[in-house]
Amino acid sequence: MIDMKRFMSGGAAIQPIWIFVIVITVFFSVMSDYFLSVGNLTNILVQTSTIGLIALGMTYVMINGNIDLSVGATLGLAASLSVGLQEYSLTLAVLVAITTGVALGALNGLLVWKTGVNAFIVTLGAMIGVRGLIFVYTEEQSFYASNFAFSDFGASTIGPFPVLAIIFLLCTLAMHLVLKKTGHGRNTFAVGGNPEAALDAGIRIGRNMMINFMIVGFFAALAGVLLATQMGASTPNLGRDYELWTITAVVLGGTKLTGGYGSITGTLGGVLAIGVLRNGMNMMQVPAFYVLVILGAILITVLIIDQQINVKSSKGVQV
């Protein structure tokens, strides 16, 4: 990934994905009368906030050199808990939902740490199992929030800005700063870039990984709760495939699957790229069958372009 421009001491960079976001934004603005409006743009932000929040945590986990496939299921479980437990208390329900997300993250992290098994395997298991948990808990039922305050929150705005979009942007800023400026953030890079070296340097890599799994668990649960507020309900199938789209967004944002490299700004770009594409194609009324093909094709194209830039800048041998 080339750095277009370096600013701030951590060396935040503008990733090529942002150019893509700008290009498609301009394209859809020209193609659709409804695209470029405050209402639609905030809509896009709200729609991307779900994948976006998870992607924030996923970026950390992936910089660590790990991956978490269980986020979609965690989201579904948190959503069901946050609605299903409201009969006791709304606060309790939300707290339990978030705690469960963090706990599942901790379990994943602990397994990866203690067994040294590939995170893909551990979290694939969790992805299947947590979905089972949801069905056991809900008995296949959807839950409905009798408390309208819950779904009103999901639709509320501050000025013209939807609360959900604001929450998403604030979390993005916070996660960006933590990654760039704090010891934990820097250690995350070290652990992903060269675990052996990090270990030798006295970084507790297991703990670092576990914290990051807890962070992604937290964000998956938060996204689940916020999604539930948008629906005033939860369904047991909620969050299917979200892990795949989240990972795609993070990779589009320039984070390397091998670890040691990535950024929150890039992830934001990746999330927006997918959100804008989906929204824009809806606005242009592209038939659903073609949307699938186009998304796939664009994804591959972006990967190819990104790789060509990399090859040119590294002058490497042809391996």
């Binding site: 409006s37 639609n40 709200v46 779904s151 999901g154 639709a155 629906m231 005033g232 309900a233 809806n282």
Partner: protein
């Protein structure tokens, strides 16, 4: 004369033929009507995406929204938003929960609870009120699946308590899965008198499994949403009966209801179209489904 822009967000086109046929029927119906302009969207089965699509339609200020809910409860806040934005909402095919009824202009579609009940009655007839059956349900968590199951179980208990449901397993509207589920039932139970499937697609899967095991002759197969394969199986006498439900009627009814609402006509809240029982006895009265 005014042109109406009507937006529709469908559940999951392509997952089965019914929804696909519905979509093209809807587009045809709209094309016939000169003063209707439609925006056709598909939620791909994802509730969150459907909510986003409703928001997008509100954003585009369409005149009316037709929604085929991916989930009867989760879409209510989005429908409420449309309602608050002054856009009438027509719910099609599968119902939403009672809490949302005040926000919609009308519902148009089949009565899935009634369909389940009708199937239960056919099962009674087929088994003469006595026997052991298994149930293969649609995708868990989806309204249509739940309503049909619910209607079937309730009516069966009422109409013929002598018929016992041994077990219910879902097969996600998928024929191959239904075939696998049925194979397992066949090993597990030596004595199965009837199979109720949430649609004919799954029903035919179950029939295939029973045929392979050489036990099809002993079992009465009853389905719902008559598919072409189911229709043929009834003709061949391998399949006892099903519920005739036309996606074309479904689509046309939805569009017509929306237009009626827009033109300010008095429209009843619930608009059910006919979904008659179909068996070998009356099959000649029906055209073979196109899907």
């Amino acid at each position: 004369e005014e042109t109406y822009r009507i937006g529709i967000t469908q559940n999951n086109v392509g997952v089965d033929s019914y929804q696909t046929t519905y979509e093209s029927a809807f587009e045809n119906a709209a094309a016939q009507n000169e003063n209707v302009d439609v925006v056709v969207l598909d939620a791909g089965g994802d509730v969150a995406r459907q909510i986003g699509q409703v928001r997008n339609l509100i954003q585009q200020q369409v005149d009316a929204i037709i929604i085929w809910p991916t989930n009867g409860q989760a879409v209510i806040p989005a429908i409420r938003q449309a309602h608050q934005a002054g856009i009438p909402v027509v719910v099609t095919n599968s119902k939403i929960a009672d809490a949302g009824m005040e926000y919609i202009a009308a519902f148009s579609g089949p009565d899935n609870v009634q369909q389940g009940a009708s199937s239960a009655e056919m099962m009674c007839d087929a088994l003469d009120g006595e026997g052991q059956i298994v149930q293969i349900a649609g995708q868990p968590g989806y309204t249509t699946a739940m309503e049909r199951s619910g209607g079937f179980e309730e009516r069966l208990a009422e109409a013929c308590p002598g018929v016992e449901i041994l077990e219910t397993q879902p097969a996600d509207w998928n024929r191959e899965k239904a075939q696998r589920v049925m194979e397992n039932f066949l090993t597990k139970y030596d004595n199965i008198d009837g199979v109720y499937s949430g649609d004919d697609n799954m029903g035919v899967g179950a029939l295939n499994a029973a045929k392979s095991a050489g036990r099809a002759g002993d079992i009465a197969f009853i389905g719902a949403t008559n598919f072409a394969v189911g229709y043929e199986a009834i003709e061949r006498g391998e399949y006892y009966g099903s519920i005739y439900q036309s996606p074309v009627d479904d689509a046309e009814a939805a569009l017509q209801t929306a237009l009626d609402v827009l033109e300010g006509k008095e429209v009843p809240k619930m608009n059910f179209f006919e979904t008659p029982k179909i068996t070998a006895d009356n099959i000649s009265e029906f055209d073979k489904p196109v899907f």
